[in-house]
Structure formats: C-alpha cells, structure tokens
Assembly symmetry: C2
Homo-oligomer: 438 residues x 2
Amino acid sequence: MTQPAMNPGSRLDPWVASYAARAQGMTASAIRALFSVASRPEVVSLAGGAPFVSALPLDEFADMTAQLIRDRGPTALQYCTGQGDEKLREQICGVMELSGIHAHPDDVVITTGSQMALDLTVRVFCNPGDVVLVESPSYVGALGVFASYQCEVVHVPTDSEGLNPAGLSEAIDRVRAEGKTPKLIYTVPTYHNPLGITQPPQRRAEILQVAKSAGLLLLEDDPYCLLGFDGEVPRAIRADDADAVVYLGSFSKTIAAGLRVGWALAPHGVREKLVLASEASVLCPSNFSQLTVSEYLATQPWQEQIKGFRALYLERRDALLESMEQLMPPGTTWTVPEGGFFSWVTLPEGLDTTAMLPRAVAGLVAYVPGTGFYVDGQGRDAMRLSYCFPEPDRIREGVRRLSGIIETELDLVSTFGPGANIAPHSKRGPNTPSPELP
Amino acid sequence: MTQPAMNPGSRLDPWVASYAARAQGMTASAIRALFSVASRPEVVSLAGGAPFVSALPLDEFADMTAQLIRDRGPTALQYCTGQGDEKLREQICGVMELSGIHAHPDDVVITTGSQMALDLTVRVFCNPGDVVLVESPSYVGALGVFASYQCEVVHVPTDSEGLNPAGLSEAIDRVRAEGKTPKLIYTVPTYHNPLGITQPPQRRAEILQVAKSAGLLLLEDDPYCLLGFDGEVPRAIRADDADAVVYLGSFSKTIAAGLRVGWALAPHGVREKLVLASEASVLCPSNFSQLTVSEYLATQPWQEQIKGFRALYLERRDALLESMEQLMPPGTTWTVPEGGFFSWVTLPEGLDTTAMLPRAVAGLVAYVPGTGFYVDGQGRDAMRLSYCFPEPDRIREGVRRLSGIIETELDLVSTFGPGANIAPHSKRGPNTPSPELP
C-alpha cells in the first residue's frame, strides 16, 4: 500500500486529498445500490429509461452490419474526424427536418450519445458558479453534468404546459440581482423526462422570447421527439431560431441506445468550439457506430420501425395509466404523456418516495424517487414511472405491487402521523446520472 | 440573425462573450487546414497515427459481428453500466497480464478510446493552474486535454532512455518552489509518441520512485505496448505499483481505432471517481463496440493478428529508416523505434519544420512539425514521422520527396543565412488534438 508523501490521503483512498474541486460534485447516488438490486428479474422495474431494443429487426441489423464491414471495414474500423461522418451528418439533417428544422450538416457535431453533446456544451460555456436554469423537475443526467462542472442549478416552476415563461424570466432577474451569471436555459420541451408533458407551440415561442431577451443560450434536449403517440412530431424550438439554440438529438430512444450516437446542432461559432472540446475528450466518435447508423438509415425502413416503437410504447403507456386509474389510492395524481417514456406521479400528502423505495424494492417493484430530479430536496412526494421497457402485463403487475406499498405507507401515516415513513436523511443533492436512469 | 441582448457577441459568433474560461484553451491548430489538404491521395502522409486496419481479418470480423447481433442483439444495442461490460473488463485484465500487470476487473473503467480515460483522469484531478509534468516532447492529444482543463504543462528533459528522472525531480521541486501545485506526471514509457523510444526497466523504476517520493500520481499511457518488433512486451510501470499509477490502455492500435474502446486501470478510490465522471460525460460507453471487442478476443486468434501487425509495421519502419539513411542530408538525425508507429527526426541547424510544412505539402509529402508536441515553442527543428499507415514503397517515396524539400531549405539557409526559411509566426502554443494525429 503506497502512502504518497506530501499527499495525505485516507486508508481507503490515498488520493483523496488530490482531487480537483469539480470532483466534489461527482457523488454516487444513495439509491444506486438499490438499483443494482432492482435489476433482478423478479423485480418489476418502472425505474429505467432503457428503450425496448428487442423490437428492432435484429436479423436485418446483423446482415446489414456484416455487409458494412465487408464493404467499408477499413473505414468503419478507422479513426474519423472529430465532427463526425459527413454523410451521417447529412442524414441527421434529414431526421431533424421532421421537427421543422432546416440545418446544414456543417453545423452538426456527432457525439457519444447526446449526453456527451450536453457535457461538451456545458464544458464550453460554464465557469464554476455559472447558473443553469432548468425545469422543476429536470433530467437527472443533465443535473449530473451541471454538478460536474460546478454550475449552480436553479429550478424554474413548471405547469401543465411545461417550463413557465414568467417564472423563467423572474428567475433570471433574481439570479442577476444576486450578482450571479446565468449562462444556459436547459429544457426538454417534448415528452419531458421526467414530467412526461409537452410544451405547446405558443409556450415554446414564449420561452424562446425570454431566452433571447435575456441573451441566454437555450439548450433544447429532444431525444423523444419522434415517439409521439399521434405520429405527429412537435416543431422544435430550434426550428424558429438558429442562433439562440443548441439543439441536442439522439438515436438512443428511436434506434438503439447501445450504439451511443447522438448529436448537437449549434450556431456556427459554437459548433467550432464543440468540435475542439470533443476532440480533446475522445479524439473522434466511433466510426463503427456512426456508419452502422448511417447504413441503417440508408437501407432499412427506419420510419416504419419507429412507428412500430410508437405503437408498442402506446400500449405500455395505456397499461400504466389504466392500472393506475384502477389501483392507485385516492389523492394520487399523475401526468398523461402523449409520447416518450415517462409519467410523473404525485402521492397523497405525507408520503416520501425516497423513504418508501427500499420497501418498494422489497415488494419487488422499483421507481425513481422524485428528489433525484431536483438539486434542492424538492420532489419528496413524487416519483418517475417509466413504461418503456417492461411488457404490458408486467407493468400492470408493477402498479399492483406499487399501489399495495403505497396503501401500507398511508396506513403508517394515518396511524402514527405525518413523517412516520420519512427517513432522517432522505433529502439529497445532485448526483451524477446513472445509466440505469437515462 | 439573433444578437442576444446583454451578451455582446461578434458578427461571426454572437456567443463569443459567453464561453467559459476553459474554452480559451481550445484553439484550432494552425496546421489543421494543411492536413485536410494532406489527406489527398497524391500526398504521402507520414503525419497520421492511424493503424493499418485493412490488415484485419474483415470477413471473420463481419461474420462474428452478425452472429453477435443475432445472439445478443438486445444486450449489444442497449445501455450498459458506466464502468463497462464486466466480461470485457476481465478480458482486459488478461491483456494487461502480458505487460506484467495483475489487476482486478473491478478496477478497470472502459472508455470511448483511451483519450477519454485521459480526459476523465484530468477532469477528476486537475484544478485550473495545476501543473502536469510531461516528456519533451509529449503526445499532442494529451497536451490538448491538459489545455482544455487549464492545466499548466511543464516539459521535463528526455534522453535516449526517455523521461529523465533527475530532470523530473528537479522540475517538481522548481514547480513547488514557485508556489504551484504539481498534480500529475504523464508519460508514455513504451514506443513513445512522438519520440519512438522506450524506457528500459531501470528507468521505469526510477521514475516511479520519483513520483512516489513526490506524492504525485503517475499517468502511464500505454497504447503501443503489444507492438514491439521483438515480440516482447515491456513490463508496465503499473506492474510494480497498484496505488501510484493510473494506467491507460487501448485497442485502437492493436485491433481497431474506429471501435473507440480504451480503458483506465486505477487505484480503487480513483476508479470510483472515474466512473462517476464517465457517467456524467457519456452515461456509458458503447455496448455495441464493447461486445464486439469482447467477442473478437473470445473467438478470434487476436494474438496472431497482432503478431501480423508487428511484422507489417516492422517492414514499414525498416523502409523508413533505410530510406532516411540513404537520402537524408548530413546533419539529420532520428530515433530508432523498437515498436509502435513513430520516429522523431531532427533536422540540421537553422531549419524550421513548421515553416517548411506548406512547401512539403506542396511537394506531396506531410509530417507533423515538432512544435506540435510542446506547449512552449520547442521542437522547431524536429518532426514526427509515422510509418504505420502507408505501404513501404510509399514510405520510401515520401522520404525521397521529404529529403528533396529539406535539401532545398538547406540551400535557402546557406544562401540567405539562418532564419531565411522561418515564418514570422511559427511559434505556437498548445492546441487541441486532431484525430489526424492520434
């Protein structure tokens, strides 16, 4: 065991005194250990955000990939440019046309999943202490990125149409009055993670206007846009302004998460910075993954496949909503997603979803507690339920188990009073994201 | 065109005033434009570090990948854990055994190429202003990472056995005397990029001792270790100390760069931080790439394939060295690599390789100027020549062209005096790495 001189570490970690200040923001989630238990097959997990990739046309995918390696192996297995494959960038522009975006391939940067596009954008823009404005609640993986760059996160109120523009404007003014520097507005306008709600067009216009008036960059994270149950694709905020928005897209939910192919579409000067940051970070994205996606888009009926995904996820959403309607105790409310993977469930007063989680997992059902989507301890009475991965019958069984757990908690509270079920340390700060929770 | 309020940008980039301080360290290399010209087929490029992946068994690779998708598609195309696939981590431990390292899979973190492992390590350890000690010269991609985290880089003298331990020790003392915080020692001990030289065992032990005495973490970057021409694998520094070293490995040079699969082997506490940083950065590495590598290691004769690579690169190294011997003007010297991809060439006094590069590219040969491997303007009279990608005849033709260019430069200098060939702005600072220069 080395104990480095002049570097007083602990017995468990001799390097504990050497880490950068930013590493303080990188802490493991307290619920992570629980999720490793929750991945056991007997547990119905309504926690994860993993797409149902078993529904992909795997035989065709296998043949296509083999052909790609035979035809263009020396390219697919080689380094590429930091910005990513040019043809795939053109194809991505075609995909974005569905959201009303007319973009040039030169303004697209391909990344190792859109998580990396988010990471690079924050890396390029945010000094420690800069403020990022986010929804209440916000995507746990984004909160992890902001924490890892020592940003201060400010939650802005949301309503049934998503991020509230007046609340956003007030928050920006307040942050500036406090002498802080707001830098980014981060929003998931379509089939929000975790809220499951979608900003209507007028709301999007108002948010864009607030961002522009305040001179803040709007970071539009849009991985679910093709997964609307009515088959319509909401018009992206980026479709109405090319200079005020960095738009993040992904093939993780629509094709396959394991390929890790996402992108940023950015104003030209920002795009240059993102490419340089990406090169420092990974030299270049995987050409193997990129050309696989490119070939898939070029040779397979991908729009039909996504249509199939929509039907599959709609059936699962309905299983979730119908069984909640039948089984959840009075006083429980939830959002009705029109696409995407998630519903946000609020429990009757007095319950604490973080405190309840161990009992839920013991009862063989898992969810993500609401506090995970806040940096400030909000969300104790809420949880995110996902319907993307389990089969409909399993979803129904999961809700049956979950409603039983909630009934028991309510009994506890009504017998011993509010707070009876609350663990002493259930308030938690930001955590880095876990791949179980994309 | 949006001109954001309260955010005075330029006409070319409305966001120019909004970037983080760290973005100042992300600048495009002046030679980058030249390299896009140099990628034309008529130019012999002795610049790039791309492995010769055409020599892979592509048919077998294609069949194997198709079978993987048929057998385990729903896993290969799904998210995985942030640390990476457990079986591949076990296999990586097997690969590292060849370097004398006995490690546990739990201490391995799989990353999007070892560049990302380097990025994560610096992210976790280095505050702005922290000092990283590196070889003279050092890997351009590492310098880009250090710049992007606002580290100060200090070049330590090297000799024929690589990084000089006495020089290292003196540099650490000097840095501390200046009130600065040294944080990492970064070294490529085996078939150094760009020097092409290898630290003998005694030298490695001395460097480790200096690092431990000073309480500094040693970052051992070892992507070329299996590519020694004698077939022996040098014993890694990490083999002799598990607590003082973060070891970086890669399949990019030995199997395929386009898969982007690398790793860090770290002391346990550091490993935990690296996983959290990786999850914030990309959620998880590509499972598609990981399982492809895992399957390749499990089912294909990969050690035989690497043996084939060694023979191929040896023939190319010999082509380079023999033609330099025949053609280079007197006063030119070079290192003799015993493995890896590079030789470091020093020109006769008075020549400037950065100034010469445009004329070389016009003469249809390319190299990387020596200044690219320093942060302080050193290396003007040197260049890195790589022999990994072009066929032997092309290498010989490249050296013929290059020696002609150098002769012409020497004529200029002897006619008009020293400095005649030096461009006014040829001194350059650190740049982000370019994928052309891995």
